[in-house]
Amino acid sequence: MKQKDIKVLVVDDEVAFANTLAQRLRMRDMEVGTAYDGEQALSKLNKEAPDVIILDLKMPGMHGMDVLQEIKAGYPEIQVILLTGHGTDRDGEEARRLGGFDFLNKPADIDHLECKIRKAFQEKLKRTV
């Protein structure tokens, strides 16, 4: 299986961050889309159907947790990695409880993040098989 097959959606209200991260991940052979708030992200799920979503918590409009809940309700196979600068222990627990794959703090090491994405992808494959 080619690595290019991993489809990632980066959801973050910080446009610069979302775009740059998307670009870097593309350079690591991933197919990456961006969304700048929760609603936009949810609306993209239909057409693009990513394998892994990188999700910020604190965003204008929908909160990351609500987005996570919606994703898990509609697309339980999609793996969500929360990446936030506002994280607390409690958020981490909450995310895991809601079915998030992992919970990382900004700024995150790109290699560490890549590794997590690949692991999440493996997990998704496992589930869908």
């Binding site: 910080e14 610069a16 740059t20 981490g92 703090n105 900004k106 700024p107 995150a108 790109i110």
Partner: protein, 585 residues
């Protein structure tokens, strides 16, 4: 307007009164003396108040009973005196009555003619005198006041009594008792005379006996008296009939004011002399011109029996002693309780303050960290992208090295920022709280091993007291070790060359294992002690000031607690309580 002023005035007065009361009851507050002295002064005030409240009634009762007892004694003494005077008075009255009866008997038995015979009279005189001592002489006096016959030690036959008062009186009455007088013989004596009417001749004659005054004196001195007292007889005019100790001799005037009732014995408290009150008793003797007088100056009633006084004193002293002892003990207990309660309250307030401060600092730190994290994330990604591009491209070969080094610098600063913000939030291994079953002693030994070189290099004596019997705990080994590392590091910094660090571990109770890290360094001043767990607070002049705040956060998250005791120049002791079963909060 004026009403308003009045109100203001009233208010001012109230404030003044309140202030005054405050000063009265809390003088220490006023003087600005606080802490230990406050309790001491509270103790003293309560003891004094209580002593006054409990001892005042005691003193009142004792005083009243003392005077009451004295009054009883006085009354009792008066009654006794009255009784004695009564007795003596009756004896004297009986004595006089008796003499009078005898004379009457003689006058009715013998005729004037018989008694005119010297031998018969002498016979009677001798017999009379034998039976009743004190008789001086006896004589028969005719209606003209001439003594016809006389029997006695003097030559008084033919003496003329017609001018004397007693003779004039007896003409009217049937008998007469004279005052004491010196008479012809210059010896104090008194006379009893009985008149005998001779109805058929229309005339009368008188039998008169003189009796030595000493006999009266004998009766008077029968009254039981003491050294300073005086008992004597006066006539109604106050002329002394018997000699007295302090009020003059026979026939002198009794100088004190006196008054009495004819029918009864009067007991009076007379003039004050030398601090004590004289008690005077007057007993008028019936059918005579005399009054029996007793002047009691010794005031024996004033001398309350020593036993009573000693007992009273003893009981009073015992009572005072007990009441003060009990009061002091009671006050000691109460004030100590108050003190403990105050201290507990102060500690509680301090802890609450500390906890809320920590919480708000935590919130602030979290806010700061969040704000830093987002731009950091962007820097991170930008720099990362530059690096990615440079690594992927061969075109910028010349600038490559420079770029890479610059980017490396960016990374370094990102790392530094990250370290600070992550540590600030206690994030370092936030997601990875593991639940290892560990031996606290092993964890400690590993940390000590890590610091051993430093300890040896600085010549610090390390004293280990790790109890083998402590239970294994389920906790995050790495985090616990970080806490130990921070605290032991601080201890090493705190002690001098050749200082002492003592590390001990033991079971605190069934839920916690306690690790105590004690140094003999300079100690932490009280005002600084409350800040040491705050982030960025440092006294060392080096370091970030995060070590203890991170340790605090870690231990709290592991469900344990950390506290510190410190004394200036004696050292500091940190206590870390680790729950045997750690739960992530």
């Amino acid at each position: 307007m004026s009403e308003h002023n009045e109100q203001q005035e009233e208010k001012n007065n109230k404030t003044r009164i309140y202030k005054f009361l405050r000063v009265l009851f809390h003088p220490r507050d006023f003087l600005g003396i606080l802490s230990e002295d406050r309790y001491k002064s509270l103790k003293i005030r309560i003891v004094l108040l209580d002593a006054v409240l409990s001892l005042l009634p005691l003193f009142i009762v004792v005083t009243i009973s003392y005077f009451w007892f004295q009054q009883i004694l006085k009354d009792d003494f008066k009654n006794q005196l009255k009784w004695e005077l009564e007795n003596t008075k009756q004896s004297i009255e009986f004595f006089l009555e008796e003499r009078l009866s005898i004379l009457r008997f003689i006058t009715s038995t013998y005729t004037y003619e018989q008694l005119s015979d010297q031998r018969t009279l002498f016979d009677i005189f001798t017999k009379f005198k034998r039976e009743f001592p004190g008789l001086a002489d006896i004589g028969v006096i005719d209606a003209n006041g001439i003594q016809r016959t006389y029997s006695g030690p003097y030559r008084l036959a033919g003496a003329d009594y017609s001018n004397q008062t007693w003779f004039n009186e007896i003409v009217v009455r049937s008998s007469n008792l004279s005052d004491v007088f010196m008479g012809f013989r210059k010896i104090p004596h008194f006379a009893i005379a009985v008149k005998r009417e001779v109805p058929d001749k229309g005339t009368f004659w008188i039998l008169r006996a003189t009796i030595d005054m000493k006999i009266l004196q004998k009766y008077a001195s029968a009254v039981n008296i003491r050294e300073d007292d005086d008992v004597f007889i006066i006539n109604r005019e106050g002329v002394l009939q018997t000699p007295s100790r302090f009020h003059g001799n026979v026939l002198e005037q009794y100088k004190e004011n006196f008054s009495f009732r004819e029918d009864n014995i009067s007991i009076k408290e007379a003039g004050q002399s030398e601090g004590t009150c004289d008690i005077c008793g007057y007993a008028p003797i019936k059918n005579s011109p005399w009054v029996l007088v007793a002047v009691i100056r010794s005031s024996p009633y004033a001398k309350i029996p020593n036993i009573f006084r000693n007992e009273l004193l003893f009981i009073t002293i015992i009572s005072i002693f007990f009441s003060i002892a009990v009061t002091i003990a009671l006050v000691q207990t109460v004030v100590n309780r108050i003190k403990k309660a105050d201290q507990a309250r102060e500690v509680a307030i301090a802890e609450t303050e500390h906890a809320s401060k920590m919480a708000s600092i935590g919130r602030l730190a979290a806010g700061v960290a969040h704000e830093i994290n987002n731009p950091l994330a962007i820097i991170n990604e930008k720099a990362g992208l530059m690096k990615d591009i440079l690594e992927g491209s061969r075109d910028l070969q010349q600038k490559r090295e420079k770029f890479l080094s610059l980017i490396g610098g960016i990374f370094d600063s990102v790392n530094r920022c990250r370290t600070v913000t992550h540590r600030l939030l206690g994030f370092s291994r936030r997601m990875d709280i593991s639940h290892d079953t560990i031996d606290i002693n092993d964890a400690l030994n590993e940390v000590i091993g890590f610091l051993e070189k430093e300890i040896i290099y600085r010549n610090i004596r390390l004293d280990l007291d790790l109890r083998k019997d402590i239970p294994k705990v389920v906790t995050d080994k790495g985090q616990v070790q970080q806490v130990f590392l921070n605290i032991i590091n601080n201890a090493i910094d705190a002690v001098q060359e050749k200082g002492l660090i003592k590390i001990s571990s033991y079971s605190k109770d069934e839920h916690f294992v306690r690790v105590s890290i004690k140094d003999n360094g300079s100690g932490i001043p009280r005002d600084k002690l409350k800040h040491i767990f705050e982030p960025f607070y440092t006294t060392k002049g080096k370091g970030t000031g995060l070590g203890l705040s991170i340790s605090y956060g870690i231990v709290q998250r592991l469900g344990g607690s950390i506290h510190v005791e410190s004394e200036i120049n004696k050292g500091t002791n940190f206590f870390v309580d680790i729950p045997i079963r750690s739960e992530t909060v």
